[in-house]
Amino acid sequence: MFRNLMAGVAVSLLLANSSVFAAEDRVVDVVAPFEITGLDPAKSGDVFLRMRIVETLVEADAQGNPVPALAKQWTVSEDGKTWTFTLQPNVRFHDGSALMAEAVASALNIARAKPGLLSKAPIEAITAEGEAVVKITLSKPFAPLLPFLAESRAQILAPASYAGADVKSIIGSGPFKLTKLEAPQSLAVERFDGYWGAKPEIEQARYLSVSRAETRALMAESGDADYVFNLDPASRTRLAKSDKVKLISVSIPRSVLIKLNAGHAFLSDVKAREALSLAIDREGLATAILRYPAAATQLFPPSLGIWHDASLSPLSYDPEKAEGLLASLGWKKGADGILVKDGKRFALTLTTYPDRPELPLLAAVLQEQWKEIGVEVTINSTNSSEIPARHQNGTLELGLMARNFALVPDPIGTMLSDYGPTGGDWGAMNWTNASFQQALDGLTRIADASQGETLRHQAVAAIQADLPVIPVAWYQQTVAVSPKLEKAAIDPFERTFGLETMRWGK
């Protein structure tokens, strides 16, 4: 009996060893943490877009400005309520069918009925005009429509992909077509020879979702993966010393923020919020915990070119000034070093969540730094849903969170939902500022580039002055790339892994 078992094991081992190992072939192995939770673009549309299987009407350039993709050009009517998009000619989907205006309108109408930014735009109708023109009618002028159309959830699939509003297969028009899908973990693509645009040099690629950061780093180091997305700080430090991989980093429009309840008695005066901000040693915090120089000097990092204002005076570290500000508000140090006013201690609860493992660590350091100026903070590291929940019931005091501003290349959509007149779950709480609202309102109406820049700077300056949230750090995205791959890059807007531009070294 044992002999039979042994023979079985031996055969299976032999079979296993005879197969060819990955990464020696000419297939680009991409590894990232994102699971493919479903075919619906509302769920994992970003993976299909990053692998360049699907496309959107509008793309973004390196600064985040809208550029043509499936839409060759667009015009907007004088009243700003009608947008007309002319489609690229000779575009074919992977099933061979031609891109028609009817299909685009139908795909967008299905997308806007599901969660995603498009559902938040004031769209009245999306219709096809003939074969190559799509018309979008709005109930009021809305300049951010272009970045909204660039969201992965607004991807255009072939009519054969849909069964009613459900997506049953991914038939896109991108430079790569899907050849195999094993949800939730992997997919494979090959170059689509009928692509309308510039043809990529890479012929085949695979995507694998690996949730553990240690495993991803080891896959990069062993050469099993050629493009590894999202490395943890410890692995990054280790891989930086290795000659087996190249590391590429960019700061991305995802910021660590402290959300403050501006309606709270202790925090309603802007001087109190400024004091909390001045007490934070951002550089020390970022280097010690995030392990890269990522101290935030304002809400948006420089990689978000159109929203970063280089002329804005940076958020600084000055605990003495912080103490002075709090003293001017009538706070006096008690026996234990904690500030007291009218018999009340300056004690607050900081709510955070461990989904991003660095957040509770950052919270602990903040707790220490605030104690220096006499502010006592209790950390409540709980479920991430508690921040929106406590925002809604008004009990939140301080919240430490990470916010992604680049769901689309222009964060105006996120700004509207987070910092609108009534605040937002992941943004301001009990805060209003007339100059900010005016700027945001202008941005939804005015499409002119230079006027837009002035308004964006006005909005960012208002947040910097009023601090409805305190920016702490900017995240940095790091990828590990095989030295065999040339022209590999990292997109700060996380729209592509760059398969369409990379190539194998000679």
């Binding site: 078992l5 299976s12 970003d46 949730s211 553990r212 896959m219 050469g223 099993d224 849903s385």
Partner: protein, 310 residues
């Protein structure tokens, strides 16, 4: 016959208990279920109160707990595990695919462990106190004490990085199976080696074994006729106990090696509060335990003729 009936009853009890326990535990987890499901579906970055409210309304999450549990039981009786709250696919379809991967991993691990553990154990047992015996004791104790996570990482570093012999993680080729199966097998082998060693040592001391030697049979024949069956019974019986280790092991090992099995799915389902998938996966793992134990009983029945008479 009676044994099969007993096992069936056991399976039904396991199904009910697993269902009830997972149900209660999910209810006790902190945080708002609707938020977690919405985050699992659409990603953290688009989840706000509006999206969560939409999910809660769509899935009728606010109905009383007892009613929800009753519905689940009713569906279970009809062999319907429902659909995943995150992916929208039928839970049964997802489980069948994942179970295939997990069984592949688990069976390979068991076979590998049987190849390593008992062999070394028997050799050690035949030479009690020898170099092999003492070395095996040390290594098997160390392996059993180390978490699988550490063993797995160690194997990746040795075979994936230093020797560059095997791929580190993934599931595209057959070779991807080797390291995760080996990780699980080492833990299993550590125990079965000890069991085999003790059993062999005891058998080797017994009068019948010594008599067989005395009458001049070659060592191999003595072992084959008088040792093998006697040693095999405790090893196979212990295997049944070790399945618990296997069930907990697949959860860790699958996550570490990105193996698309049921343990990996369970972890993600818990994060996304995907209740039907959690219940389905726990149920299948519970039943797998019952089936494997039944198989062990059957196996022992074949090996040990004394049981047949009883």
């Amino acid at each position: 016959m009676r044994m099969i009936l007993n096992r069936l009853l056991q399976a039904v009890l396991v199904a009910f208990t697993v269902g009830l326990l997972t149900f209660i535990m999910i209810r006790l987890l902190p945080g708002d279920v609707a938020y977690r499901i919405a985050a699992g579906r659409y990603g953290y970055d688009v989840v706000d109160s509006a999206a969560a409210a939409k999910v809660a309304a769509e899935l009728d999450l606010n109905r009383p707990a007892i009613e929800a549990f009753g519905l689940w039981l009713y569906d279970l009786v009809r062999l319907d595990l429902g659909t995943s709250l995150v992916s929208g696919e039928p839970v049964w379809d997802e489980l069948v695919m994942q179970l295939g991967h997990t069984l592949q991993l688990a069976v390979s691990a068991i076979l590998l462990s049987l190849l390593i553990g008992p062999l070394l154990g028997i050799l050690a047992g035949l030479n009690r106190g020898g170099f092999l015996d003492r070395g095996l004791m040390l290594v098997s104790t160390a392996l059993r004490a180390l978490p699988q996570f550490v063993v797995g990482l160690g194997l990746i570093v040795i075979f994936g990085l230093m020797l560059n012999l095997l791929p580190t993680a993934g599931h595209a080729h057959g070779s991807h199976l080797v390291l995760p199966a080996f990780t699980l097998a080492l833990g299993l082998a550590a125990v079965s080696a000890q069991v085999a060693r003790d059993a062999m040592a005891e058998v080797a001391q017994s009068q019948f074994y010594r008599f067989a030697r005395t009458k001049g049979l070659p060592e191999w024949q003595v072992f084959r006729r008088h040792g093998l069956r006697n040693v095999a019974v405790p090893i196979v019986t212990y295997l049944g106990v070790q399945f618990i280790y296997l069930v907990e092991g697949v959860v860790v090992v699958e996550t570490l090696f990105a193996w698309p099995g049921i343990g990996h799915a369970l972890v993600h389902a818990i994060f996304g509060r995907d209740v039907p998938v959690i219940q389905g996966a726990a149920l299948v793992m519970g039943l797998m335990f019952v089936v494997l134990n039944a198989a062990v009983d059957g196996f022992c029945y074949i090996i040990d003729p004394r049981r047949r008479d009883a």
